[in-house]
């Protein structure tokens, strides 16, 4: 009875596992970008593009990195959805 359902369930579970792993990794990256430079603002005194590193990071670097993170998440979720449908099994 359950045989036709089981592979589908397994596929759902593995899809969700991969999503969760991706979200975890990206969240760690987000935490590092957001809070670590700001915490050590007075210690990281070198300059990037003539501005103190942390000032540049908060004003330009971090926002640009956020765009990249969101873009990675979008691409990766698309890929995982395709894998789940069996269209693309990389």
């Amino acid at each position: 009875m359950t045989t036709p359902r089981d592979p589908a369930r397994a596929a759902d579970a593995s899809h969700w596992r991969r999503i969760r792993r991706m979200v975890f990794i990206l969240t760690v990256a987000w935490l590092l970008i957001s809070f670590v430079p700001a915490f050590f603002a007075r210690d990281l005194s070198f300059k990037v593009f003539d501005a103190p590193f942390v000032v540049w990071m908060a004003a330009q670097g971090a926002p640009i990195l956020y765009v990249v993170l969101v873009w990675i998440a979008e691409r990766r979720m698309d890929r995982l959805d395709r894998v789940h449908r069996g269209v693309d099994d990389r």
């Binding site: 899809h15 809070f35 501005a51």
Partner: protein
């Protein structure tokens, strides 16, 4: 043509048509500004140009609103779920960037330096949370509003009701700030007074959201995004070219920041600036002395002013002096209590200004205090760093719980498009947010190099005109009586800096108007989205889902329109009181959203076991803790770890998470809602 490709063709056709329309809109904007510049040269009066800049964009929004008018429920509530990712991205960006971003942010960065960057980080980084945890699952659920999602996920009216209270509360607080901004801009553009300005602007909000709901608001917001982005970037690029010759302002950020730091060092060493600081300190000390015995000081002051009026009247002195003395007498506080209040406020202002660099921290220095200094300096440093990080966190988590933005993810045709629209949204938002710090630095360089040191009889027009509108916005006073403007003698409120930027940079009048029109677009687009969110929550979630399940569609839409009107009026009547600086109004909302909606959404998808009771209790606990810390703590004294009340979410968020988990574990699991979660996690069927 096969049956399958027909919808694809229709979508392609829709995209082509949209692209053509908005390109036309952009070209029209540039043509309009050009035409106005020519008319200005030809001698059209400034007043007429300003009114045209107010009316033409509002007419554009109104005609988009009219063209998209609808009473059909799926169109009214979620724009027929047919908005392509790029356009949803633009609409989200316009929804997101309110007057707080457009006018408040650069001003805050100018006044508070590094501390303002918390907003840049928070208001961009929050979209990471939206992309990772929220947006795909909201669209996957296929609901209409945020309370709707909570109701369906947790399977009961209680989370829906709590969600709806929070949604209405957040959106109402937020919309007041927008309407205040609208009033500020229209009164500047037209010379009407602030109160009339508010109601003129309100008309602009209502024509869009009232007629066509989400559909009209979406397509208006796309146009508003284009206008506000152009309006923000033009003065930044102009100033950048003027100061450095480089047309890419982001590239000269560091270089100009160094220039500002050099100016700051020179000003700190300037003896005239020190004189100003000493003069303000003396003024503050005088208030302290008066406050020591209020009754006597008030009586003395009244007597001396009366004597002066009598003397002037008897001697037939200059009429202006007599008038000034009479006015001073009238402006005297009525009684001791009023006097104590006024003088305390004035003492604080003088104390505030009795600091080097007009009380502004050095632009390139992160945090106040000094980690290697005296214990007091160390404490100041620790507290300033902690508050910065806490604010960043609250703004980010609040972004991922802000109902009016999240509701936009329901409008895309598919989950995939919803995800793509987050990428577009953050890209389009970052364009403005990385320009705001540059604008602040360029303006500071401009003020320090070419405004400071001017003679008082040759002050630039912007100082004269803005201080006439409201001295709280811009004021100058020759404290050390040398007839020359020092930095310490100029006070500029952060809220007007962006609007005044074109004048500060010596740009033509049309650019000033363009910036004002951009600010208006930012305020109107956000106000539209917010009012619609409140109205939809009340008519869809409260009335339709909880009171009358059989309500016909037409009645729901009509009810939503009525609620919208009502809340617009409530918000306007609060905004008329000129409550506080724009950012002060907006920031607490993020703490509230962070501590309520965000945890319920995140755990709703990522922790299956979370149930009805957990979510309701958690949201309530988060709300209570946040509001308690924000409203009650400052008065009863004792901040926790020195965290400012606006960042109350730093306590509310963990409390909400913990309560959701504990209460869910203590109450029975709910198989039906766990099945809902499985469905949310499963990819959308193709």
């Amino acid at each position: 043509m096969t049956a399958e490709s027909a919808p694809a063709d229709a979508a392609a056709l829709q995209r082509m048509r949209l692209r053509r329309r908005y390109l036309l809109c952009l070209v029209g904007l540039i043509g309009f500004v050009g035409a106005m510049a020519l008319l200005e040269r030809a001698g059209l009066s400034h007043a007429a140009i300003a009114v045209l800049f107010l009316l033409v964009p509002v007419a554009l929004y109104a005609s988009i609103g009219l063209a998209c008018r609808t009473s059909e429920s799926s169109q009214y509530f979620v724009a027929g779920r047919s908005v392509p990712a790029v356009y949803n991205g633009m609409a989200i960006a316009a929804d997101w960037m309110s007057v707080a971003s457009f006018m408040g942010l650069a001003g805050l960065l100018y006044v508070n330096g590094f501390a303002g960057l918390a907003y840049v980080l928070g208001w961009t980084g929050g979209f990471c949370l939206v992309a990772f945890y929220v947006a795909p699952y909201l669209r996957r659920s296929g609901q209409f509003t945020i309370p709707d999602f909570l109701g369906e996920r947790y399977g009961g009216p209680l989370p829906r009701f709590v969600g709806l209270v929070v949604t209405a509360l957040c959106s109402l607080m937020y919309v007041v700030a927008q309407i205040y901004g609208v009033g500020l801009i229209t009164s500047r553009l037209t010379g009407l007074n602030f109160e009339v300005g508010i109601f003129v602007g309100l008309g602009g909000v209502l024509v869009c959201s009232f007629l066509g709901g989400m559909r009209a608001v979406t397509w208006t917001q796309v146009a508003q995004y284009l206008i506000l982005l152009v309006a923000f970037l033009v003065p930044v690029v102009w100033l950048s070219v003027k100061q450095t010759g480089v047309p890419l302002p982001q590239a000269v950020f560091g270089q100009q920041l160094q220039k500002v730091s050099e100016h700051e060092r020179a000003l700190l060493a300037d003896p005239r600036e020190r004189d100003v600081v000493a003069a303000f300190q003396a003024e503050a000390d005088a208030y302290v002395a008066k406050l020591a015995d209020v009754e006597r000081a008030l009586a003395q002051e009244r007597e001396s002013l009366q004597r002066r009026v009598e003397q002037l009247a008897a001697a037939g002195g200059p009429a202006a002096e007599l008038r000034a003395a009479r006015r001073a007498l009238q402006a005297l506080p009525k009684d001791a209590d009023a006097a104590r209040e006024t003088w305390t406020a004035q003492r604080d202002v003088s104390q505030q200004r009795a600091r080097p660099l007009a009380g502004m921290p050095p632009q390139a220095l992160p945090y106040a205090g000094d980690p290697d200094g005296s214990p007091a300096e160390r404490a100041a440093f620790e507290s300033s760093r902690l508050n910065f990080l806490a604010l960043v966190f609250c703004l980010m988590a609040g972004t991922a719980g802000m109902p009016h933005v999240l509701a936009r993810f329901y409008t895309t045709p598919s989950v995939r498009e919803a995800r793509r629209s987050v990428t577009w949204a953050i890209l389009l938002i970052v364009l403005l947010y990385i320009s705001a710090p540059v604008l602040a630095v360029l303006l500071k360089a401009e003020v320090m190099s070419s405004v400071v040191g001017l003679r008082f009889d040759a002050l630039p027009r912007w100082i004269v005109e803005w201080s006439r509108i409201d001295p709280a916005l811009v004021s100058v006073v020759d404290m050390n009586r040398d007839g020359v403007l020092q930095l310490g003698e100029l006070r500029v409120s952060g809220d007007v800096l962006v609007l005044a930027a074109p004048e500060i940079g010596g740009m033509p009048f049309v650019i000033s108007c363009l910036v004002a029109a951009g600010g208006l677009a930012a305020a109107l687009s956000t106000a539209d989205g917010l009012l619609l969110t409140i109205a939809n929550a009340l008519s869809h979630d409260l009335y339709f889902k909880m009171i009358d399940r059989n309500a016909p569609v037409a009645r729901r839409v009509a009810l939503s329109k009525m609620i919208l009107m009502l809340f617009a009026l409530i918000a306007a009547s609060i905004a008329i009181q000129k409550p506080a600086a724009i950012l002060l109004l907006v920031t607490p909302v993020f703490s509230v959203a962070a501590a309520t909606i965000f945890p319920a959404l995140l755990l709703g998808v990522f922790w299956k076991r979370a149930n009805l009771w957990g979510a309701s209790a958690g949201m309530l606990a988060g709300l209570v803790v946040t509001l308690y810390y924000m409203l009650a703590r400052p008065d009863t004294g004792g901040l926790w770890w020195g965290i400012q009340p606006v960042s109350a979410g730093i306590f509310g968020v963990p409390v909400a998470f913990v309560v959701i988990v504990l209460v869910s574990l203590l109450t029975p699991a709910d198989a039906a809602s766990e099945a809902v979660v499985d469905e949310l996690r499963r990819p959308e069927p193709s």
